[in-house]
């Protein structure tokens, strides 16, 4: 099988691998870079579990080939906070019980981060609109909306402090 060298910048680190041109970005992230925080739920672009950011915009890594992402800046959930120093959005999901099994969560977080950057004072309707492309089978969404609403408040007070 023909492979080629693919080099990707993920969360500021360069990862390279000899992979088939058809390798999905989701597989590169999980198998080559071994960043397993990005999850795969459907592999056909519907569920949003695999959502990452490419140059600051969310994309479905299961619908993107790894080679297409060369030269772009990729961000995954691992770029947010760490345990003990959670990102305010992660903090808000924890506080508001915005996750149960955690499988949709990384995608939700990446979407929430992008969304709150563009709309720092959203209404609940805005939030609902924003996450309408991400499926969650556990929560019924309400506490995810709560969490993103709360995250907006946390981020605002953070900016105020800074």
């Amino acid at each position: 099988m023909r492979t080629q060298k693919v080099e990707l910048t993920i969360n500021g680190t360069t990862y390279s691998g000899h992979v088939e041109p058809r390798m999905l970005l989701s597989d590169f992230i999980r198998q080559v870079a071994r960043l397993t925080g990005t999850h795969v739920g459907c592999e056909h672009g519907v569920c949003g579990a695999c959502t990452v950011q490419i140059d600051g915009k969310t994309a479905r890594s299961c619908l993107t080939f790894a080679v297409q992402a060369e030269g772009h800046d990729i961000r995954t959930v691992e770029a947010l906070g760490k345990q003990g120093a959670l990102h305010p959005i992660q903090e808000a999901f924890w506080e508001k019980h915005g996750l149960q099994c955690g499988y949709c969560t990384p995608g939700m977080l990446m979407r929430a981060e992008e969304f709150l950057a563009s709309n720092p004072t959203p209404s609940r309707e805005d939030i609902i609109e924003a996450i309408s492309g991400n499926l969650c089978r556990c929560t019924g969404y309400q506490t995810i909306v709560d969490a993103i609403e709360h995250a907006a408040t946390l981020l605002k007070s953070q900016t105020a402090e800074a």
Partner: protein, 820 residues
């Protein structure tokens, strides 16, 4: 009325409800979350071992066909392919998959000779990458001889010859037919003043967790032992059956659990996936990962939900009291029969709902068709009987002009009647149904909505208010697995839950559970209960999951049993540890163990100021300073306990099955009241309000319980309005992807499901806890059906089948308008 001939075992409750608690009853944030939020949860697909191969399957494109020949030579020749195995090759290394029916229905992880549903594996491949494995699958050439596809159980049950799926079991697709009758059904119908009849339909949907099933297997030829990492539950209960399938002694299989990205029952006991990866590992001598893709999971996960056709009659006396119900049900089980008709056992545990109905009859026909088999999905069949009971109640109200609230209230089992035997012999431990109803009415502002509904109708808007008052049975006992069979195969009676608690030398605790996280909150729950009982700081407690090598008896989550059972086991283990702590401290403080008490992480002598030792100090002494204590065995080194807790309240069924015994007694209750508005032009259902009041006894963590209620409600909305596995006449599944099988998104659920609680503690469980993991999905469908019917009353539309998709609703409205 209480039947005195029936025996109620004495309560084994040690921790009484209503005591002052520090952790139980609080919204403690989940201890599972930090690692999940940072992408560090270790799910099945995150397991990676050196040298690991990747598996894919070739799935049957036919619903029903004979396999004439398979040519794998091209696939085998593909570079990167390490092994290709057909059903025959697999059968040389494995036996049938575990099946709990009696007689069993033989299922293989890879089909031999005959395929029985679309998506059934026909060959399996291990290759250097999943990409190559899938390429190889496409190179396999299979010749099939199509057989008649059975799609409709009402026809399949009459098929003979070529249309029979399992000829070895006889020339019929009827897997089981039984009639259960409890009480004087004929007499009650004879004396009834009015009878209402309905034909009801519940279509097939499924759990569809966002994570599919997956396993990584290794086979060590030196020791002859398999190691399987898998996102299955129940492995410490029935995981040993996989060793039987794999043809090795049970101690030559170690199952290591991974956490699961959702289950809702569907990962209760995964069998096909681990066996496929294990047989390939044995064949190749290398570790093998097999992870279902989404279409595998939709087509062949072995866990589709109930698929039933009901004909029901409900009898009322002259006082508008329900006196009897009888129903004929045909259940489409699909191609195999792993759990037998256990789903109907679930139903029979609460078939008469919260009502005083003196007799009941259920005539059950389980039929095999060319579809994926049924398994577990949140409710396990009892969600369907809730729907049926509530539909019949609504039918009686609309047919006889009765008020749905008052009719229910009148027929409720009264608070003073508990514990209460229902006709099937199951016991309801406790309840307060009027209180739940009243709370829901008040939270919703029922009268207010009725007024708004009237106003809206004047403007041509169609608002409907739904009502369902129904049961959430919890904590199954094992008799349910076999008591409905003509002959009990393996009449087990144990469904225990074990925990190990170890206090390390520095005074921190590790709790080991026997089944992993699957989206519930087992670590948080176990932490809270141990912290409560040992007065520890939750930060000093961690939770882990046993593999089968180290695991003790444990059944795992399912049937809303886990919190009740783990609490029982933790109380036992904690009592052992307390006793030892008291013994050690008493010796060190020169007091008697009976004078000791636990307080804030310390053991102290009651009433003696300053005479105390911290758990940490005592733990250090227990682990390392044996000579500081008397030379008697109770002071032996260590501070730990392994305890199993057996079912708190169960009895045997009678020989003739006129009485099923107590098998699902920890009885929760709920009242769901949705308010919907239907766009009669499009059939779209919009939620204007939603109130869900639940009674699950003492609540451990209100925040996570509300999460279960809302998540379950969202799934109930899916089952009621959007979700259905659509099989065509030829047995093709038309919507085997997430674009066509519609899981509710944030747009389809109410923006605010307002959750309320009434607390009626169980007299039989520790602290009075009841299960609460499934209620949302068990209450939402009948409530939504009733709301839709109420909204469309002007059209006379009946909500007698689910799901009521917008397209179907639109059709019903169009039909009704044409008839008017």
């Amino acid at each position: 009325m209480k039947d005195q001939t029936r025996r109620i075992p004495a309560s084994r409750q040690r921790e009484k409800p209503g005591q002052k608690t520090k952790w139980i009853g609080t919204d403690m944030k989940r201890v599972e979350d930090p690692r999940l939020l940072t992408g560090q949860g270790r799910y099945a697909d995150d397991v990676s071992v050196p040298g690991m191969l990747h598996a894919a399957t070739l799935s049957s494109p036919h619903a029903h066909a004979r396999i004439i020949s398979i040519d794998v030579s091209k696939a085998r020749a593909l570079p990167g392919v390490v092994a290709v195995m057909t059903g025959e090759a697999v059968a040389r290394l494995t036996g049938p998959l575990p099946c709990f029916s009696n007689p069993p229905v033989e299922q293989r992880c890879v089909a031999i000779d005959r395929v029985r549903h679309v998506g059934e594996p026909v060959a399996i491949i291990a290759a250097e990458s999943r990409y190559i494995a899938e390429d190889a699958a496409r190179l396999i050439e299979v010749e099939y001889e199509p057989l008649p596809a059975m799609n409709d159980p009402r026809k399949a049950m009459h098929a003979i010859g070529e249309g029979v799926l399992h000829p070895a079991r006889g020339d019929t697709n009827v897997a089981m037919h039984r009639n259960f009758s409890f009480g004087d059904v004929a007499g009650d119908f004879a004396r009834a003043t009015r009878v209402v009849k309905r034909s009801l339909r519940w279509a097939r949907s499924g759990a569809q967790p966002l994570e599919t099933c997956g396993a990584v297997s290794e086979y060590d030829s030196a020791t002859g032992k398999f190691t399987i990492h898998v996102n299955s539950s129940m492995y410490n209960y029935v995981g040993w059956l996989l060793a039987v399938t794999l043809g090795v002694p049970v101690h030559k299989l170690n199952i290591i659990p991974t956490i699961a990205g959702g289950s809702f029952g569907s990962k209760l006991f995964i069998h096909k996936v681990p066996v496929i990866s294990a047989v390939l590992a044995r064949e190749t001598g290398r570790p093998v990962k097999y992870l279902e893709d989404r279409s595998d999971n939709i087509l062949a996960c072995d866990h589709h939900g109930s698929d039933r056709f009901y004909d029901c009659e409900l009898a009322l006396d002259h006082n508008d009291k329900m006196i009897s119900m009888r129903c004929k049900v045909i259940d489409d089980y699909g191609a195999y029969f792993q759990f037998d008709i256990g789903h109907h056992g679930n139903a029979l545990s609460q078939i008469t709902g919260p009502y005083q109905i003196g007799s009941v009859e259920a005539d059950i026909t389980a039929v095999m068709t060319n579809k994926c088999q049924q398994g577990a999905y949140r409710g396990f069949g009892s969600e369907v009987s809730n729907y049926v009971m509530e539909r019949m109640v609504d039918a009686a109200c609309s047919e006889f002009g009765l008020d749905p609230v008052e009719f229910r209230r009148k027929n409720f089992i009264k608070p003073e009647q508990f514990p209460y035997f229902i006709p099937t012999g199951n016991l309801y431990d406790s309840g307060n149904y009027p209180a739940v109803l009243d709370k829901a009415l008040q939270m919703l502002d029922y009268d207010g909505w009725r007024n708004k509904q009237k106003e809206a109708r004047k403007e041509g808007r169609y608002i409907g208010i739904g009502l369902a008052t129904c049961q959430e049975r919890s904590v199954f006992s094992a008799t349910e697995f076999w008591m409905l069979n003509h002959e009990a195969g393996f009449a087990l009676t144990s469904s225990p839950e074990g925990v190990k608690v170890k206090i390390d030398p520095t005074g921190n605790a590790v709790i080991t559970l026997q089944a992993p996280f699957w989206g519930n909150s087992p670590e948080t729950m176990a932490t809270m209960i141990l912290a409560e009982h040992l007065t520890m700081d939750p930060a000093n407690i961690s939770v882990t999951y046993a593999d089968t090598d180290s695991g003790i008896a444990g059944t795992g989550p399912g049937g809303s049993r886990f919190t009740v059972m783990v609490a029982g086991a933790i109380v036992s283990a904690s009592q052992v540890i307390r006793k030892k702590l008291f013994l050690l401290a008493a010796h060190l403080l020169d007091a008697d163990p009976s004078e000791m008490e636990l307080f804030d992480g310390k053991v102290r002598v009651k009433g003696r100021q300053g005479a105390e030792k911290s758990i940490a100090d005592l733990a250090m002494m227990a682990h390392f300073f044996r000579l500081s204590f008397p030379d008697t065995p109770e002071f032996d080194t260590g501070l730990d306990a392994s305890c199993t807790y057996d079912h708190p309240l169960t009895t045997m069924p009678s020989e003739d099955r006129k009485d099923l015994g107590i098998f699902y007694p920890i009885m929760g209750h709920m009242c769901h009241m949705p308010v919907v508005e239907i766009d009669v032009e499009t059939g779209k259902v919009k939620f204007l309000d939603y109130v869900a009041v639940h009674d699950c006894g003492t609540i451990v963590n209100p925040m996570t319980l509300a999460g279960h209620v809302r998540g379950g409600t969202a799934q109930g909305i899916g089952s009621a309005i959007y979700e259905e596995y659509k099989y065509a006449d030829d047995g093709q599944l038309l919507n085997a992807n997430f674009a066509d099988y519609i899981l509710p998104s944030v747009n389809e659920v109410p923006p605010n499901v307002r959750v309320g609680h009434v607390v009626t503690p169980s007299p039989f469980t520790e602290y009075g806890i009841k299960g609460g993991g499934e209620g949302g999905r068990m209450g939402a469908p009948p409530a939504i059906a009733s709301a839709i019917e109420d909204a469309l009353k002007p059209f006379g539309v009946k909500a007698d089948f689910l799901p009521l998709t917008p397209a179907k609703l639109r059709g019903l409205i169009r039909q009704a308008t044409a008839n008017q």
